[in-house]
């Protein structure tokens, strides 16, 4: 199906939730992101349902990562973000919001595993301690629980004092997830968390995410369409800084409404 540009750019199909039936955890309204003068996100309004996994897919450079990083304002220093990001009835993209507090509720895991150059235990306990959790027992408990949730407790329980940098890539990434959930965020943003990992580690991470979904709202950027199909409930397709389609994952992969989405998931471009 030859893409007709003037046609396809007008084609959009964005899912809107009925607030009565779906609890919305996070939503963006009229969001625009600029790097200097060039606009990186021009149309990117999505709603994310609570306790679901939403996947953002699209070709590289489509703006999906930029979008994700804007959600907890990680882009503040390098980009200008305009528009509203609604969380619990508040626009968290406003100056009244305490960014640091906000990020404790909207956590993030990055593409490359980035454990601190500290012990495994400290990687998790550190941020808690900064916020006044000092009780050794409580810390032990949280560390164990987080590592269990990230499905790595059994592998590392005897090595908690070893440097995190000695772990394998997959383990490091799961440690980063454990670290992110240790502070009990509401929402977890993941930026291609498995792209640097081997298939086995990838599937372990996917299992972990499916577990976590019971307690967390998860938004994940992935370039791996099979991954999106396997784990997500909703999928958004980004292209050239715009969301073209947002729907239930099953619908998008079986019956895309927008031609470009179809092209992309059938591997015709991207």
């Amino acid at each position: 199906m030859a893409a007709n540009n003037s046609m396809t750019t007008d084609q959009r199909n964005i899912l809107k939730f009925d607030p009565q039936q779906h609890e919305i955890a996070l939503a963006t309204e009229d969001l625009h992101v600029y790097y200097g003068k060039s606009e990186a996100i021009s149309e990117g309004d999505l709603q994310f349902e609570r306790y679901k996994i939403s996947a953002l897919i699209g070709p590289s450079g489509s703006g999906k990562s930029t979008y994700l990083r804007s959600l907890n304002r990680m882009n503040d220093r390098i980009a200008t973000v305009k528009g509203k990001i609604m969380y619990r009835g508040l626009d968290i993209n406003s100056n009244d919001i305490d960014v640091y507090e906000m990020r404790r509720h909207i956590g993030m895991v990055f593409q490359r595993p980035n454990p601190f150059a500290k012990s495994i235990y400290e990687n998790i306990a550190f941020a808690l301690r900064q916020r006044g959790v000092n009780d050794k027992k409580e810390l032990d408990e949280i560390v164990e629980r987080s590592l269990r949730q990230a499905a790595m407790w059994d592998q590392v329980k005897d090595d908690l004092n070893k440097s995190a940098l000695a772990l394998s890539g997959g383990q490091q990434q799961r440690l980063c997830i454990a670290r992110a959930i240790a502070i009990k965020p509401d929402i977890l943003l993941l930026d291609e968390p498995a792209s640097a990992l081997d298939p086995i580690s990838t599937s372990q991470i996917e299992d972990t995410l499916l577990e976590l979904k019971q307690n967390y709202t998860i938004i994940i950027v992935t370039h791996n369409m099979q991954q999106a199909a396997r784990i997500s409930d909703y999928t958004a397709f980004f292209n050239l800084g715009k969301v073209l389609e947002y729907a239930e994952t099953g619908d998008i992969f079986t019956n895309p409404q927008v031609d470009l989405t179809n092209d992309y998931i059938s591997g015709n471009f991207g």
Binding site: Q130, G132, N134
Partner: protein, 291 residues
């Protein structure tokens, strides 16, 4: 966080207590009992040694001696920042100093002798020859009866006491020609020792086997000759104070002038005791007999 806070706090308290303990237990006796002497590096060893002896005799008194040069000593005493200003020269000779506001205590005499490299082959010069050499009129040792060697002048730094004395008394006030300068006796001596044809001048205490001391008009540079002013290239070492020095300062200067220092330390350091001088000399260079 909390635990480390507690440890930090404890550490601070311990340090605080230690400092407080130290402060209350400091030797109170010497709290107001220290004097500072600043200035001439040539005089520094003498005052330092005297100060140490004085402190060991008078428990709780501390004499703080610092170098910096005669100019520093005089300007510091003039501004009242210190108790004693050590100087190699008369305050009157130093520009920028109002000598009338200071009180002079001459504590020692230092003789200065011309020295030449051993290959020069000269051990006696007339004063006129000396002046000719230093003003650059004579350029080869042959002209004053030595070997055929070009003359290399090694002067002391401008403003240094030794140079002022030498120019005033050995050169009769003639300024010496521009030449190498060294700001220290040790360097001047070692340069003369190692440079064929070199001539310089140092205090008697620096005379040794490595260089040839020169007689002037047949007079030997000896302490006896200085005492009688037959050797006239000498100067006083001064401790300057304000017009009204405090009690401790006065006592210390008295101590420096006492036989305990004059007979021993002054000699050990190669100075000549002021008490043994048979003449005295004013800032203007006028010599009168003592007694």
């Amino acid at each position: 966080m909390k635990k480390s806070r507690v440890i930090q706090l404890l550490g601070l308290i311990v340090i605080g207590v230690l400092v407080g303990f130290g402060y209350t237990n400091r030797e109170k006796t010497n709290a107001g009992q220290s004097i500072t002497a600043v200035g001439s590096t040539a005089l520094q060893p003498l005052v330092e040694a005297a100060g140490e002896q004085y402190s060991s005799n008078h428990a709780g008194v501390f004499i703080n001696v610092q170098g910096g040069g005669s100019g520093t000593g005089l300007s510091q005493i003039q501004s009242g920042a210190v108790a004693i200003g050590n100087s190699d020269i008369f305050a009157e000779e130093q520009s920028g100093i109002q000598a009338s506001k200071l009180k002079d205590h001459r504590v020692a005499v230092v003789g200065i002798a011309p020295i030449v490299n051993k290959q020069v082959g000269v051990s006696n010069l007339t004063q006129q020859q000396l002046i000719d050499i230093f003003t650059g009129k004579v350029k080869n040792w042959r002209e004053v009866g030595g070997n055929n060697l070009p003359i290399t002048l090694i002067n002391r730094a401008q403003g240094s006491g030794t140079r002022k004395t030498f120019e005033s008394y050995a050169l009769k006030g003639h300024a010496s020609a521009d030449s190498q300068e060294q700001d220290s006796s040790g360097l001047a001596r070692s340069i003369v020792a190692s440079t064929p044809g070199a001539i310089s001048y140092v205090a008697f205490s620096y005379l040794d086997q490595s260089v040839q001391a020169v007689r002037v008009d047949g007079v030997r540079p000896t302490e006896t000759n200085v005492r009688q002013n037959r050797w006239y290239i000498w100067s006083y070492e001064h401790l300057y104070t304000g017009q009204r020095p405090n009690q401790l300062t006065k006592q210390f200067i008295d101590y420096v002038l006492s036989p305990a220092v004059q007979q021993k330390l002054v000699k050990q350091l190669g100075y000549i005791s002021v008490h043994e001088m048979q003449v005295q000399r004013s800032a203007a260079g006028k010599v009168t007999a003592v007694k």
